[in-house]
Amino acid sequence: MLKQIEGSRAMAEAIGLCRPEVICAYPITPQTHIVEGLGEMARTGEIKNCEFINVESEFAALSVAIGASAAGARAYTATASQGLLYMAEAVYNASGLGLPIVMTLGNRAIGAPINIWNDHSDAMAVCDSGWMQLFAETNQEAADLHIQAFRLAEELSMPVMVCVDGFILTHAVEQVDIPEQADVDAYLPSYEPVQVLDPKDPISIGAMVGPDAFTEVRYLQHYKQTLALRLIPEYAADFKSRFGRDSGGLLRSYRADDAELIVVAMGSVNGTIKDTIDEMRADGLSVGLVTLVSFRPFPTEALREKLVRARNVVVIEKSLAVGMGGPLANNVDLALRNVAGAPQVHSVIAGLGGRPITRTSLHRVLRRALVQPWEGSHFLDLNEEIVAKELHYVRKVRRSGPTAENLLRRLGQAADEAAVKTAV
């Protein structure tokens, strides 16, 4: 049913249609509305046979989900930012034990400095933990990805994180087609665990593994993710045949087949990039886009196939590996490793801590990439003036104080000076 609905509510309804049996989460902005919705649906009986468990922390939330999943229940949780870091140990346990938990990550920056707004730092912090990570472009896709995620997780017995941009998607009200229960039931079979804790047939899960088998356990985890590279497109195709929409898959391309310059990005910024590309195409510029949905597993071959004929690739990402650069750009480099005549890869770090990524700025950076491509990381819309002032100050004064507070003070001064100028 087509509804004009808040993204968080749409996701809650889609998750409810997946018939979760245990939901356990701790509130943290911007994920909170999703579990509020689920809590209400569990209480009113809209989701049947579902226990909503209140806990005291994110560490407990995922630990309860691990226990529930090991006992054979379809388990769900959600978090963001510091909450994900607080449950980090359990994140590795869920994947290491091979438990098919689905978790929504309302993508948000990580402090310090504390920041509640959107970027992909949280997802990147655990991208190598053994969870699959799927990124939604729209709220329709966010809702649909959860339905596909339960099937994928349970088929492979491996957890899935559905990554949705905090605020930009979670708090946006737009139209979403909420599927019918019968159609979801037909798409998503009931959970048949490959391992289950049952008092009548006792087993242990979570053995200590020494050097004799640790490599093999890890290899099999990695192997399962390579199997996901086949299953993700298959489940997306099945989803399309039943629900009539393109949602999920490994990646999608937009006007990229003949493009000289191809942009690669993840999440909600792809919509703004598409509008920018249409405007650049109207000006006769040869630009296209590849939207990466699956970051883990990383679709190396599918991405190489899309990029290999371009001259330049610009990776726009909402994350920064401090001291290295863009982690997504680094992964895209991997897809082109050892390819003769491979396109040049250029990295753009954008939208950190919720800074808007505008068409104006995208036009500027993409047009520059066509004529004057750069090495290293380009920080979109960096305020070079306050950075230069701060660097100068730090060189002169040993006890220069905290960076965040210094920059905020400089911004305040600049605003005051501008106000005085306007008044004069």
Binding site: Q175, G271, D275, P356, I357
Partner: protein, 190 residues
């Protein structure tokens, strides 16, 4: 695409206003996207929200920088921030006030925009009369439906009825209708 920016103060319901407008447009089979300004909102602080309306899918996710219309819940905001920043020269401006444009010192702005595109409406007073509380959203949206014609009054009313229980909804619909009629009367007089 038609883009509306709402200005208010924390607690006045700018987020709800944008959502209601998006639902009204959705009920007319159009695409609409409403979203807040994503701040750490607190009571009384200046806040904004946004609504885009189009006949095709809306992919754009940037904040609205060049609005086609501004809806201002609190006229004291004009002294606090640059409310009209980016407003298109063909744009609309609707202000919640029982005072005239001249009394609010908005003549200069009104002169920059097409005739009949700038208006004050006593939305809080209409809300007090019909709802019993100074919640200006419904009246502003009713007035906006008449001023801009971007959505119909009956769609605004339907959106209100979807969002609230019957008693509160009917009071809000009455406020929206009264504001719509007030704008119609004002434009007939002009």
């Amino acid at each position: 695409m038609f883009q509306v920016r709402f200005h208010g103060r924390g607690g006045q319901g700018v987020v709800t206003a944008a959502e209601l407008l998006s639902v009204a447009a959705f009920l007319e089979q159009r695409h609409a996207q409403a979203f807040p300004s994503f701040g750490s909102e607190r009571m009384g602080a200046p806040v904004v929200s946004f609504c885009r309306i189009d006949d095709k899918e809306i992919r754009l996710r940037e904040p609205i920088l060049e609005p086609d219309a501004l809806i201002v819940q609190d006229p004291t905001l004009f002294k606090a921030i640059d409310v009209c920043q980016g407003l298109k020269s063909t744009g609309y401006l609707l202000v919640n006030s029982s005072r005239s444009l001249s009394e609010l010192h908005l003549d200069a702005i009104a002169n920059r925009l097409p005739a009949g595109h700038v208006l004050t409406v006593p939305a809080s007073e209409l809300a007090l009369k019909h709802i019993g509380r100074p919640l200006s959203n419904a009246a502003l949206l009713g007035a906006f439906a008449r001023l801009s014609g971007i959505v119909q009054l009956k769609s605004v009313a339907a959106a209100i009825r979807e969002a609230f229980g019957e008693k509160i909804a009917e009071a809000n619909v009455a406020a929206a209708t009264a504001a719509y009629d007030a704008v119609a009367a004002a434009s007939a007089a002009a």
